[in-house]
């Protein structure tokens, strides 16, 4: 029986080629899109699961509010792990990562390489995480100072092979020159890990004032014993704070108890986060890498599902629309003794067969577009990942789900025909009054319109970010790293390059208002003795005299640092938010206090106020910030004015190379660094655009199929109308009118939904565009025009056909 079904289904597919092609293309786009997003989602949720003890590993997060400044951090204090392990038996082990240095200079031959992927780790690293060794014993590998564990890639790069690397020394620029012995080589870390390093240096070599509960600089992971509930464990942190933190804090500020501290609107909280949640649920300060976002996983999944639905709807609409073609067969089969059940089975077999074909075409689409998608999503997914058992089952089941989804309604619809009616040709197939079909077309277009609006809003918002008034000028600024240069050389190089006519100004700029740059914050108070209520935390940046000019920042009041004033080393410049945090009405001349290393207060006089500029993401409002005069010459920023950027770049590179032979020349343009901060939004924008285009293409394919069919059915009517004097325009209007109405209804339904979704999305940005009616108007017009163009192919063809031909055939 099933053989007979497949045979007849196959012949039907071959007979109605246009119908088959439309259905298969539509479904395969839907299926392909769905598979691609499934791969993406599975990859996203697979993060950090490769650790054998993944279900017991937790990171300590810190949430602090102090003086109106809120900080959610992925790091905690250095003694925290040790304290937890010694005080609470539930903690089996802990490991700290110290990743403050983003890179080290490592010597290879006579050249220094600016090596990223470096971190200092406790020797317990391998007891908590699963990082298999290729050679060497990881149990003892990081126990001694001056040891390092490297990955296979690193071993190949510096020594040629893991076997050659073991026992050798790596020379780094720590304290000018430090040698580390390679004690073990491990396999490269999996891609789907929230941190990925190639060099794990011994923690003993970290130059740090250990034992400080108040500075948060260590990523700390704890391994809980089996059966421990981490949420219950979180309650222990209150005890830890009272026992260890309060006594330390009391040494430099007046603080009586945590209750008083909290009563003044402050907060100090620690909590454990499961390691498997980090990638999708954590976007804190000082993450080890840019994480994903569960929100986008949901949005992408929903969009993929909707596109699959749109494609299924095409199948439903086209199959039911051309049901008259199948009605006779249904009638005959029923007369020959077929039960309804058997007919339903037959039609479901057909839709499943189409879905299977669509699966193969869809997989081809996936294969063709995977590298593009990888580029957009920042992933490195492979087709071979589809061969994992779970995915294979999913792919085998998918055509049956799709076939069922698309086929079940047509199957019931077609199999319910009464044989005597259809065999006499009495059944009239109402084309105008098919409510379900109209509803489905509206659904398709409403979804497409929502996706188009989403795309436009995302792009407009990105554009807004790029062109909004940042408070600094990101264009035509080059930032060069001053590796391996003495401060004097840095100074003379800066002076020398400043003489070039293309260079307008230059500044030592260790801190930059873009992501990935250094940050430093300190607690200030308005009185010389800090209390819970007069203290607040803000950014505290060392800059030089030319910083504001080079970065194009503007003064609000007061003055910039000046070489003409001797006393500027104790002066500070606040931004507008800092003025508010301090509560100053007339800030110029006011004093703010910090405490020095011995806990003694140190006064700073406000000499000026700089206009607010965005130094964090535009998702947030500008926080408090203060400049003081200093020499942070790690990097030099040059503002230039030339059309020959590459020429200038090579001039500067040559000067650097001459001054520091063997050192890498690292530079970045400020505007590019700025754009990188919004990479995720740009990715979402690109994917949303791809979705929107796919959705509208599939919806139009369906519309095209319907129009073809209906024009075919109404050939005779069109012929008669033309004989009676209807013009081509009349006919086109008649054929398009109904569909245009549907698109308009879809627009009316989609507009509020799209408005709501995009309104919610925009709330994530402190600086955002308004959703104006133009966006919706443009989208509506686009949908209408695309639908009209699709329809007009068939409508014009039908309208200009010679009526004699169409009437003769009867």
């Amino acid at each position: 029986m099933i053989k007979n079904y497949i045979k007849i289904a196959w012949r039907n597919l071959l007979k109605k080629k246009a119908f088959t092609v439309i259905n298969i293309i539509g479904l395969s786009l839907g299926v392909g899109c769905f598979i691609m997003i499934s791969m993406f989602v599975i990859d996203e949720i697979s993060y950090d699961r490769y650790h054998e003890k993944a279900d017991r590993i937790y990171r300590i997060n810190s949430d602090i509010i102090f003086g109106g400044t809120e900080m959610s951090m992925a790091v905690s204090a250095d003694p925290m792990g040790e304290v937890l392990k010694s005080d609470y038996p539930e903690v089996e082990n802990f490991v700290r990562l110290y990743a403050s240095q983003r890179s080290k200079l490592i010597k290879k031959g006579n050249q220094y390489i600016n090596q990223s992927g470096v971190v200092h780790a406790d020797s317990t690293l391998f007891k908590v995480f699963t990082l298999p060794a290729i050679i060497g014993n990881t149990r003892t590998a990081l126990r001694d100072p001056n040891t390092v564990v490297i990955t296979e890639t690193a071993a190949n790069r510096y020594f040629g092979s893991p076997q050659l690397a073991i026992g050798q020394f790596l020379e780094t620029d720590d304290n000018d020159k430090t040698l580390y012995k390679v004690t073990s080589v491990i396999e490269d870390m999996p891609r789907n890990s929230h941190f990925k390093f190639d060099f794990f240096f011994s923690m003993a070599n970290v130059d740090y004032d250990f034992g400080n509960f108040l500075s948060h600089n260590f990523h700390t992971y704890v391994l809980l014993k089996e059966g421990t509930d981490y949420k219950t464990f979180n309650k222990n942190f209150k005890e830890v704070i009272n026992k260890y933190l309060l006594p330390q804090a009391a040494q430099f500020m007046e603080i009586s108890s945590m209750d008083d501290f909290e009563a003044s609107g402050n907060k100090l909280e620690y909590s454990l986060m499961p390691i498997t949640d980090i990638h999708l649920h954590s976007s804190r300060g000082i993450e080890l890498s840019a994480n994903g976002n569960i929100q986008y996983v949901y949005i992408f999944s929903a969009a993929a599902l909707f596109i699959l639905l749109i494609a299924c709807i095409n199948f439903i609409n086209l199959t039911t629309a051309r049901s008259s073609g199948r009605a006779k067969e249904v009638g005959i089969r029923k007369v020959l003794g077929s039960e309804k059940k058997a007919l339903i089975g037959q039609f479901l077999t057909e839709s499943t067969l189409i879905a299977i074909l669509a699966l193969f075409v869809g997989l081809t689409f996936v294969w063709l577009s995977l590298s593009w998608f990888n580029g957009v999503s920042g992933k490195e997914m492979l087709m071979t990942s589809l061969l994992s058992p779970k995915f294979l089952v999913f792919i085998l089941v998918l055509p049956f789900i799709v076939g069922g989804l698309a086929g079940v309604y047509p199957a019931f619809f077609l199999s319910s025909f009464q044989p005597i009616k259809v065999l006499k040709g009495k059944l009239s197939f109402g084309n105008k009054k098919n409510t379900l079909r109209n509803f489905l077309v509206v659904f398709q277009f409403a979804t497409s319109i929502i996706l188009i609006v989403g795309t436009i809003v995302i792009y407009k918002q990105l554009n807004h970010i790029q062109n909004s008034n940042l408070g600094f000028d990101k264009d035509q600024v080059m930032v060069v790293n001053n590796f391996g240069l003495s401060h004097e050389t840095r100074q003379s190089l800066k002076n020398e390059i400043e003489q070039l006519t293309e260079v307008k100004s230059a500044s030592f700029a260790g801190y930059l208002p873009v992501g990935g740059s250094s940050r430093s914050d300190t607690t200030f108070s308005t009185e010389s003795v800090m209390t819970e209520s007069n203290g607040f935390n803000m950014q505290y940046w060392n800059v030089d005299y030319d910083y504001l000019e080079t970065l194009g920042m503007e003064m609000e009041s007061g003055r910039n640092f000046s070489r003409d004033f001797g006393s500027d080393s104790l002066g500070i410049i606040l931004n507008e938010t800092a003025v508010k945090l301090a509560g100053f009405k007339n800030p110029i001349g006011k004093k703010l206090y910090t405490s020095d290393n011995n806990g003694n207060p140190q006064a700073h006089t406000v000499i000026g106020v700089v206009k607010n500029f965005n130094f964090a993401s535009l998702r947030e409002n500008v926080g408090g910030l203060c400049f003081q005069l200093g020499n942070n010459s790690w990097e030099t920023a040059y503002r230039f004015n030339t059309s020959d950027v590459s020429g200038l770049l090579s001039t500067i590179e040559n000067k650097y190379k001459a001054a520091a032979p063997g050192m890498p020349f690292n530079y970045q343009f400020l505007d590019e660094a700025f754009d990188n901060m919004y990479r995720q939004e740009r990715r979402v924008g690109t994917v949303a655009m791809a979705f929107a285009i796919l959705a509208i293409i599939i919806a139009c394919l369906g519309l095209f199929g319907l129009a073809t069919y209906i024009a075919e059915q109404r050939t005779k009517e069109i012929g008669i109308r033309k004989v009676l004097g209807a013009s081509v325009t009349n006919i086109i209007r008649m054929l398009s009118k109904d569909f245009v109405k549907l698109v308009i209804v879809a627009f009316v339904i989609a507009t509020p939904i799209a408005w709501w979704f995009m309104h919610e999305w925009l709330q994530e940005f402190a600086y955002r565009i308004d959703l104006n009616w133009m966006i919706f108007a443009v989208t509506g017009c686009v949908a209408l025009v695309v639908a009209l163009i699709t329809l007009s192919f068939q409508a014009i063809k039908a309208a200009i056909a010679n009526p004699v031909e169409s009437l003769k055939t009867e």
Binding site: M1, N4, K7, I8, R11, N12, K15, K328, E329, G331, I332, R333, K334, V335, L336, G337, S338, E339, A342, P419, I420, L423
Partner: protein
């Protein structure tokens, strides 16, 4: 010994057309014995087709009694009724109603599929039927590639494949020329001699003359036998 195949007792069929009740068949009384060859005659709209459809259980009477092989069809459930006609009744149509996507062989085979006959047995039965109707050479052709007469031969072969007791033929030669008509009617005549009961609806006196009995219908009533 003559076995009664079916009997209609005051059988009525009405439809609602808007607010009017239209009577298509009016108190039909008819006995059909096994081995009969009955011709239903009458003008268009007299109810021939409706009567055939109701006897064939594709349609049902709205009143009166219908007994088939001693079983009361009028009080039967849809499922049993379908079992009954699948087993005992074959249909032949004016417009042949072959499935365009299936070959001659497959068209003839289809009723056997719905009766769940085994594959090896099906092959034998279909081959015998093709042989008998001399259409072995056409077994892989599609209906569109055959003449009208050939298509109707396939239609009859398909009706016979399930070894029915009763063949219902609605204007079986209506779309054929006179030579083809004669061939088909002679075939019916032969089948009847082999013991198959046949009820045909026809306009043609000549075709009716092949039958053993003529029933005249007018406005849904039997007017003459």
């Amino acid at each position: 010994m003559v076995n009664k195949l079916l009997s209609l007792n005051e059988a009525t069929r009405t439809v609602n057309s808007g607010s009017n009740k239209v009577t298509l068949l009016d108190n039909i009384n008819l006995q059909v014995n096994e081995g009969e060859f009955i011709s239903l005659m009458g003008p268009s709209g007299s109810g021939k087709s409706t009567l055939l459809n109701c006897i064939g259980m594709l349609d049902s009477f709205t009143g009166g009694g219908y007994t088939f092989l001693g079983e009361p069809v009028h009080s039967m459930k849809e499922k049993n009724r379908s079992k009954l006609y699948k087993e005992y009744i074959g249909f032949v149509f004016q417009a042949y109603h072959l499935i365009d996507e299936l070959t001659v062989w497959e068209n003839i085979e289809t009723p056997l599929l719905y009766k769940s006959v085994k594959s090896s047995e099906r092959k034998g039965l279909v081959a015998d039927m093709l042989d008998r109707f001399n259409i072995v050479g056409k077994k892989d052709l599609f209906p569109m590639q055959l003449s009208g007469g050939q298509q109707q031969l396939v239609g009859i072969a398909r009706a016979l494949i399930g070894k029915p007791k009763l063949i219902l033929a609605d204007e079986p030669t209506g779309n054929l020329n006179s030579k083809q008509s004669t061939e088909i009617m002679e075939l019916f005549s032969d089948l009847n001699k082999e013991g198959v009961t046949i009820i045909q609806a026809t306009h043609s006196e000549k075709n009716a003359s092949y039958g053993s009995r003529i029933v005249n219908l007018l406005d849904g009533k039997i007017v003459e036998e």
